[in-house]
Amino acid sequence: NRKALVFELSKPGRIGADLPEADVPEQELTALVPAAALRDKEPQLPEISEVDVVRHYTALSRRNYGVDNGFYPLGSCTMKYNPKVNEEAAKLPGFSNIHPLQDSKTVQGALAVMYELQNYLAEIAGMDACTLQPAAGAHGELTGLKIIRAYHESRGEKRTKVIVPDSAHGTNPATATVCGLETVEIKSNPDGSVNLDALRAAVGPDTAALMLTNPSTLGLFETQIIEIAKIVHEAGALLYYDGANANAILGITRPGDMGFDVVHFNLHKTFSTPHGGGGPGSGPVGVKEKLIPFLPVPVIEFDGKRYRLNYDRPQTIGKVHGFYGNFSVMLRAYTYIRTMGPDGLRQVSEDAVLNANYVMRALAPYYKLPFDRHCMHECVFAGLKEHAPEVKTLDVAKRILDYGYHPPTIYFPLIVHDALMIEPTETESKETLDEFIAVMKEIAREAVEQPELVTGAPRTTVVRRLDEATAARKPVVRWKEPLTP
């Protein structure tokens, strides 16, 4: 069951792809490029035939688990089903085979989709404008904070601090840092909500922004959001919305209406584009009117007849991507929004929240529920309810693998001890949830009665638990050509 490396399949002289012969007169290589600029030794790429390529990657794919294989209740990741028609749309040659530097007259269809998508996202967010350029959520955060910074600077204000609750995603403080801003972490209330006193104590004339996700990373709606916005705005700071949890609020409430000034969405979460095993994503950023001048270039504009890319924006933060962002991810999200329409999107959030509450209530007798409130699109448990001294939350997660599901997120958010964060999403049926609930109950029983089943898990996977410590201590991060004796 050990899978060969692609390098181990190699044999000199084999080829896996077929290229045409040169149809132009060829010259000596060194007549074109000085010998000093040429490499001495060719890169050691494998030499395998087409059938080897196909079997290798087909076999690797079968050692991987995606949403198409089953339930994926990974909290904070919104692993909903990715509709296939989106893939069809993205594959159309008129989209996939266009060069980013073509004359805009020849790409009007592409620009139209982008223009409309940014407007749709602005409407969903309650914002006045939107850029599609960021390539992922964290990239959206970076773009958003840079816009906020530029805004303050344009007003002659030097604001260098970003307030981040201790329940936040790690990207929030990291983004502040790479934007040259200082993170001020404030303690949350036990239920993950913002501690208003701590916030009031933290804000000041040096505060650039408060970064918040709502629902919080505990899956709970921040009920004091109006008050929070008031505190932040009165201090002259702006409010940043981390859209990681936006799947709970589509058509129900809007960050802009809550008082947020900047929003990023993750198209690869809320808008149903596939995650690709870690990207490509897309992290569009929506802003309120006053921040529009600072959006990255190019901005897509429409004069009623023609779409164009406008680079002439004196106050822009500049470019944040080589071209215009992850276009083919946008195509998928656009297709999704056009498929769902306003009613469909609202139903998405209703069903996502219903599913999460259903799971939460069903599991509450077996797993510690730290906050007895309705959750939004995901719920967080604090480990097993019954005393099971040998079993860690990690063990529970690994045992879930043996039952054929992807486990929930574990040990996040950091403020909940032994956190197990479950996000079912709206694309799962009651039957799937019932089966999952039954498994989770069974594992809770096993943890007490047969703990070795849980601590020794997984047993049904192609590898068992892996030695992560050694991997980090003595990193083997690439293949190396074996030394010939």
Binding site: R2, G16, L19, A22, V24, L32, P34, A36, V53, Y57, R63, N64, G66, Y81, V85, P93, N97, H99, P100, L101, T106, V107, G109, A110, E123, A135, A136, A138, G170, P173, A174, T177, V178, T223, I226, R254, H275, G277, G278, K319, H321, G322, L331, R338, T339, P342, D343, G344, D351, L354, N357, R361, H374, E426, S429, R464, D467, E468, A472, R478
Partner: protein, 449 residues
């Protein structure tokens, strides 16, 4: 109800679930939302379309674009029209790859992890460096991350940047640098190559890194001899931004002393896609491994001793290090990296070399023929890979319009991306361009007076 095919729960399911929860309506679940911030109306979006309708809409929008399957394309400048074997999309399109999340649970993610580990190995082989990450967003942001990393590693805040670097990349550098207080010193080019004298003058002990592109934006192969020594002798890093296809024949960054290699991986089997998703790659010398941004896959063993792969060195990353992280990157371009690995596996040692050779030869054939036309001349005498700048007898925009009429996508009008005359065109010739297509281009150019 729109989107019902994506929403499995029926009305009776919903009622049963509400009853189990102990509420009478979904609205109750949203009771924490203050009424004042609730949206009291439907979103102002177009009404739902059926699958048939939405696909027809997208087909119509797609048909409003001219694509490179319809017209031969001589545009490059950071996005390249290469041949992609059919196996690539067939395999990267396996849903187990594209519908997975990041590999936080390695036991059920061995396929993705191994593919990424092999990708890292390929990038190391191509660049001649020790450690690759599992991808960054694109070439431009990879270069910016390299700048951040170099400044972090050296504790310095000046970077010297060659004007031979893609102007879009330099704009991204500027965006990233500004808020971190980095100073960018730009060194101009002479005959399309970075000005060596100016470079020497610019590099000093305050400089964290020298950033060069090779082949550079003008397609020119830079003379890298002695460059690394120059910057190393002042304690700085050499960052090379490279085209991965060119590395099949050109000296790899590791061999000319670069500490960091970055670049745009799009040529490795990714479609043009109007600019994205592309693939930022980065490889570094071992000593910078623990400063590298992005995810890294490592090899290890399971508790039975079987080989396996995991995400490793996560102490560098934002979700552990939070505000002390060197980079905020989280989701990257995993599927693009796997796609590149499939492409490189299919092409293999001989294939990649052949692609590079065909690009080089065809570009030189085209350049030679165009240079022989009256009114046209090559802007530079320096060696080049598969792109070159032509000075044109009429504004480049006019020439492109004429080419478009004749069914050819011309080169990049340089005046649209940098200051300078309007009669400079950057042309790219990949292995996909046939002699007949090149000759057709030449014939149209010849006819323009």
């Amino acid at each position: 109800m729109a989107g019902r095919h994506y929403l499995p729960n029926t009305e009776s399911d919903r009622q049963a679930m509400l009853a189990a929860i102990g509420v009478s309506s979904v609205d109750e679940l949203f009771q924490d939302i203050p009424p004042a911030v609730r949206l009291g109306r439907p979103l102002n979006l177009p009404p739902a379309l059926s699958e048939l309708e939405v696909l027809q809409l997208m087909q119509q929008r797609a048909a409003e674009n001219v694509h490179v399957g319809q017209m031969p394309c001589f545009l490059g400048a950071g996005a390249y029209d290469h041949f992609i074997p059919a196996v690539v999309s067939h395999l990267a399109g396996r849903s187990e790859f594209y519908t997975a999340y990041t590999q936080y649970q390695p036991e059920i993610s061995q396929g993705g992890l191994q593919a990424l580990w092999e990708y890292q190995s390929y990038i190391c082989e191509l660049t001649g460096l020790d450690v690759s990450n599992a991808s960054l967003y694109d070439g431009a942001t990879a270069l910016a991350e390299a700048m951040n990393m170099a400044c972090g590693a050296t504790g310095r805040s000046k970077v010297v940047v060659s004007a031979g670097i893609h102007p879009f990349y330099r704009r991204v550098l500027a965006t990233y640098a500004r808020d971190l207080g980095f100073e960018i010193i730009t060194v101009s080019t002479v005959d399309g190559q970075t000005d060596r004298a100016a470079l020497k003058a610019a590099v000093n002990t305050e400089v964290a890194a020298l950033l060069m592109q090779n082949p550079n934006f003008y397609g020119v192969v830079e003379d890298m001899e002695g460059i690394a020594d120059l910057v190393h002798s002042h304690g700085g890093l050499l960052v090379a931004c490279v085209n991965p296809i060119s590395l099949a024949i050109l000296k790899p960054p590791g061999a000319y002393g670069a500490d960091v290699a970055v670049g745009e991986g799009q040529p490795l089997g990714l479609g043009l896609n109007f600019g994205g998703p592309y693939l930022g790659f980065m490889a570094v010398r071992e000593k910078y491994m623990r400063r590298m941004p992005g995810r890294i896959v490592g090899q290890t063993t399971d508790l039975e001793g079987k080989r396996g792969f995991v995400l490793t060195l996560q102490a560098r990353e934002q979700h552990i290090r939070r505000e002390k992280a060197y980079s905020n990157i989280c989701s990257n371009e995993g599927l693009c990296a796997i796609t590149a690995a499939i492409y490189l596996s299919a092409l293999g040692k001989q294939g990649l070399a052949k692609v590079a050779r065909l690009c080089l030869q065809k570009a030189h054939y085209a350049a030679g023929r165009i240079a022989s036309l009256p009114g046209y001349r090559l802007a530079y005498t320096a060696p080049f890979f598969h792109e070159f700048v032509v000075e044109t007898p009429l504004p480049a925009a006019e020439i492109n319009a004429r080419l478009q009429e004749k069914g050819i996508i011309g080169g990049l009008d340089l005046a649209t991306v940098e200051d300078g005359p309007d009669s400079r065109m950057l042309l790219c010739v990949t292995e996909k361009r046939t002699k007949a297509e090149i000759d057709a281009l030449v014939a149209v150019l010849e006819g323009i007076k």
